[in-house]
Point group: C2
Chain length 97, copies 2
């Protein structure tokens, strides 16, 4: 199992309609084949400037690669992520204990 | 529910006995009251220099605060975390969708 996560901060003001619309669009990624346990998250630690997160799981590297290459994922990255995200960090995890 | 996560990189060489010993010590945090779904994680994204992660969940902010203030947590931070961790980032999440 691979848990793919990304934490990010938007260009939009907190609580804005644009923020809500972005999160709604991000949630459509859950329908891409291979995505398991999709979660849209709010980042709450005051020790970080990131404000949101996404988390999803894949059965294996092949499923993760298929997601990354999927046209719906690519369209989201090009049309929403790149124009609207100010900064982000991707972290992928495997459970070891 | 609050999911407390931290991703980090150790001062120890990859695969070293010191690395294994640190991870073993980190896993003892799971016994602190209030900790749920404790996971020791390997960070695998080549887009980040962090190599490990810990994830745990708390029922609420009071349980999280009790964990942070617990003597076992404090001892781990002072005796292991500060001396052995090179860099880290804490991210806390609440599920919003």
């Amino acid at each position: 199992m691979i848990r793919h996560t990304v934490t990010f901060r938007l260009k939009h003001p907190t609580g804005s309609a644009a923020e809500t619309d972005f999160l709604k669009a991000a949630c459509t990624l859950t329908s891409i084949p291979g995505v398991r346990k999709f979660e849209c998250l709010r980042q709450t630690s005051p020790k970080s400037n990131f404000t949101f997160g996404l988390s999803m799981e894949f059965d294996d590297a092949a499923a993760y690669a298929a997601y990354s290459a999927h046209p719906e994922h690519d369209a989201f990255v090009q049309q929403r992520w790149i124009p609207e995200v100010l900064e982000f960090l991707e972290l992928d995890y495997e459970v070891i204990g």
